[in-house]
Symmetry: D2
Subunit: 341 residues, 4 copies
Amino acid sequence: MKLAFASDYQEGAHPKIIEKLVETNDLKTTGYGSDPYTIKASELIKRACGNDDLDVYLLVGGTQTNKVVIDSLLRPYEGVISPDSGHINVHEAGAIENGGHKVLTIKNEKGKISSQDIKDYCRAFYADQNASHMVKPGMVYLSQPTEFGTLYHKDELMAIREVCDEYDLALYIDGARLAYALACDENDVSLKELACISDAFYIGGTKCGALFGEALVTKKDLIPHLFTLIKQHGALLAKGRILGVQFSAFFEDGLYLDIARSAVVYADKIRDALKEKGYKIVYEDPTNQIFIEVTDQKMHELEKDISFSFWEKSDEDHTVIRIVTSWSTTQAEVDDLIALL
Amino acid sequence: MKLAFASDYQEGAHPKIIEKLVETNDLKTTGYGSDPYTIKASELIKRACGNDDLDVYLLVGGTQTNKVVIDSLLRPYEGVISPDSGHINVHEAGAIENGGHKVLTIKNEKGKISSQDIKDYCRAFYADQNASHMVKPGMVYLSQPTEFGTLYHKDELMAIREVCDEYDLALYIDGARLAYALACDENDVSLKELACISDAFYIGGTKCGALFGEALVTKKDLIPHLFTLIKQHGALLAKGRILGVQFSAFFEDGLYLDIARSAVVYADKIRDALKEKGYKIVYEDPTNQIFIEVTDQKMHELEKDISFSFWEKSDEDHTVIRIVTSWSTTQAEVDDLIALL
Amino acid sequence: MKLAFASDYQEGAHPKIIEKLVETNDLKTTGYGSDPYTIKASELIKRACGNDDLDVYLLVGGTQTNKVVIDSLLRPYEGVISPDSGHINVHEAGAIENGGHKVLTIKNEKGKISSQDIKDYCRAFYADQNASHMVKPGMVYLSQPTEFGTLYHKDELMAIREVCDEYDLALYIDGARLAYALACDENDVSLKELACISDAFYIGGTKCGALFGEALVTKKDLIPHLFTLIKQHGALLAKGRILGVQFSAFFEDGLYLDIARSAVVYADKIRDALKEKGYKIVYEDPTNQIFIEVTDQKMHELEKDISFSFWEKSDEDHTVIRIVTSWSTTQAEVDDLIALL
Amino acid sequence: MKLAFASDYQEGAHPKIIEKLVETNDLKTTGYGSDPYTIKASELIKRACGNDDLDVYLLVGGTQTNKVVIDSLLRPYEGVISPDSGHINVHEAGAIENGGHKVLTIKNEKGKISSQDIKDYCRAFYADQNASHMVKPGMVYLSQPTEFGTLYHKDELMAIREVCDEYDLALYIDGARLAYALACDENDVSLKELACISDAFYIGGTKCGALFGEALVTKKDLIPHLFTLIKQHGALLAKGRILGVQFSAFFEDGLYLDIARSAVVYADKIRDALKEKGYKIVYEDPTNQIFIEVTDQKMHELEKDISFSFWEKSDEDHTVIRIVTSWSTTQAEVDDLIALL
């Protein structure tokens, strides 16, 4: 069998989570998130965010969460500012436009956009005499870590927050891989700070050890009737308790904050080995994704023993591939991988 | 603790299913339904449907499945014919309209509409000189069992199929509680027949013993690019294997066909007891839902010991309540319930 | 040539309007409704409505106006209450659903619904324990006159307004044929009262003597960014002045209030003649539309000399047809029609 | 009064058109485009396009036409390729996204994109292993002339057509200012060729001398139920004959092909004068739009006597402004303008 480095969603769930699901399986609860596990998860998450004036909603997947939030936050005449590399702009099959909204792109720099970029965009919009014929920027979408594994630093996010306040933009942060940011030495943005700086963000479960699930955290009462909007999107889980059980497990002993530590350490190790062996690392990032450019011939050799993911063709003969570690990656797998590279 | 008869989605999953999830938890697979479990589930379901010219897609929930199918099957100028009591018309928070389509309602008779009703609707539409200013009927939505637990018989469905062919309508059947139909003596429509008569239908998991999940079965190539459409709806599960594992468990030893048998037997028993005690049964149905009208005073008495669900106010002083058995209901619970009524 | 009684939009424009269009044709103005004619029309309409705290927008057609207003007023989780006979529910090809919203129908009585109907609907909604899974009523749509030519009386509208306030519903009135209501003796609702009672309504031009055009009147600032929303709907006329010129002509000498007087008088005359000749009048109404049921044989006879419109099949052998007078109908045409009936 | 060079939609209609509207004003016709004028216009346009296998629909405005066509041609999983400068991408307030579709942008070169650009886009899409998670290109949107007044040459369009065939893309051309292209010496694409090369295009009326109106021309039966789709968009004119009369006037004596000749000649004259006076012409184009960059101080001077339009800020102190000639521009106005520059 090949060494599995293609993604961070290749297994079921972290042992502790699967154990809790088994343990609670026979208990009978009410549905749609009104059960005690969901309520407990919500309380634990608010506590971890150090703030009671928050609302927590548990959803099934990332694209689903992005679509629900953006559809619900924007008014019909508004669009969402996003890095051109943002997941919502590239890999969600037009989910945002399907909801009626334009993604207003800004060229990314290693997956990120800056407060200055956003300011320039808004200034140009409001200075344009045809602005009323154009899509008004209504919110900003970022991800932490970004699509390329890079991180926003606290001062960067605070500067973005300031621009958002100036131009009346909601700030929403996609945390599909948030555990990998939180576990990373380079990171200086805590969960509390994320909750404080953003209007809404989500704590990714699917890629961070849950069977599935994402915890959306918003400022209290940010989105009226969000429960109904979730239902309308086909995103309401009947047995909401399954999400509640998982996120309770993540947050009752701080599991979520630790779970990705080894993944990040191993990723660093692999990066070091790659550099040593002369590979070209394309986006230098500190989390669990590693992007290297290889010749197509090399790619075909590697794929005999290793499963990784295609990222993009860089030219006729070269491809960028992605190697990903996860909470479940072992030292032995890393050693084997390095030996094979 | 109260006796739990409020719904058929109060527990986790059937023991066999949870066991399979545990068993496969550590295995690494590719994502988005390309894994061996999903492929196996798809094969098993096609075999159970007695037909290879089918496509199977595994989704997370019922409203999600309805929304994806209807959005994808209809053209923008078309609407979906539904009983006025249909789930899509009443309890999906406007999910179908959110996708741009009108629900064209026909008054239900115990949750059902007839081939003649549909024929009359279409005849009137095509006879109307203003038809081109109106929403064209493009498909028919039914559920088996219906919202009221009643069943379509084979000859009824075949007559509806004929009308659908006459008026170029796709026929889609919502099987959220399909196991309860299949387990019912009164039922004369097999899985094979459903697959043959309909253009698309779904085999409900959530209410029939899965942790969650619905298996959509369509005529082969009915909906081009359905994978992308599922993604666009935020309905694509990254770890698709979790659905694959569950539906493999349902169909490898015929579990799905048996799982609801006790629920149906117990429901009959409860109905008999209710009649004997002089309760008014509102919709006489042969599956696992029991609808009775009680005074509000009686309702408040009952709810001290029993959890059931509110159905609708019938007048100032009376309410229709719903008692539901499930695959997990035990003889002891039924006895206790009868004693309390 | 046949006698033309099929609709009230069979000619170009009223002579005064076409004259003003010719007179202003060569003048150069800015576009998109920023021109002096549109500004003047807006001022004149506000004056006619006796209220400065209004916004006026000039649009091209009725379905367009309904769609823009309803899309813009409702939030995604809301629907619009309408008589089942309402134009938005029957003859707009699903325009409202295309915008994502459900039309919540109430059975009409001669085209109308009552304050009690709306109250009952809302009470049932808020009493329903599943309300958060359902479409929330967000506004009420009525037309004055209705689809069947009937009128709401002032006390009826005021009672509806009260229910709207109680349940936080916006009240929107479609005035496609408003001139025919205003010209009618039975009518007791003035333009000022309409502007006062409703949150938004439109003054129909197309069917009342304009070349085309409808004047939307809303409470001041009711819909933020409505200009952009109109553009987004493809409903913004580049040469907005053409609408401005027409509505200025309608309102500078009170033309609009008079224009339909003869149509209403002639309609009464025709109704009297029909009754005398033993025709069955289906909806007794006081404005310019006359609905009679005839045998299909009679219908085919009549259509040799008269153009009228098909309304609906009432049974295998009978059809309801509609005879319509307009601002342009002449005494001679009416006499000829009566002679032919 | 200022010299009016801000746009080509500053007046009412060309004298011949207004005359025809007056002449036909009293005639009674059926509605919604079933009248003899619309039928005649349609026949004349098909003749001018040299092809009977076409369908013609008359609509009111450009954004409306773009929205109706794109919404109707694309399937939900598809998007439309457009130059980033395309009207649909910049100045239609998100109308395309409001219809659920992504605009897939390609960087423009003077308003144009090349067949190679489109080929590269499609190749990259189909080579991407994540393509099924992305928006599939379904059609190409171009304008002739472009937003910057430039023209596609016949060989360029034919090469684009070839790529469209290769990648199964519909080709749609926005002809809002088509008369200015047809009247231009540099142009080598006739109406017949446009009709042949594209799947659909529209012949702009609003900016080319009509009171308003655009004639959409499609391959026969390209869009099923387009009439209903137009209605659903609120884009169906009740008195369709007003469009029919205008387009008949345009095409019965070849008026449309001549109407913009003087505008193009005058624009050349103005460009020559500007160059002589040392102005910086930003996009060199051969039609009726002239783009110059001036200091903001110069702009403020010019706007005392001339009305032109703002195009974009080029930097802190400079602005690109647009001077536009139209079918109604006179030699005297041009002389006055040149004297003032």
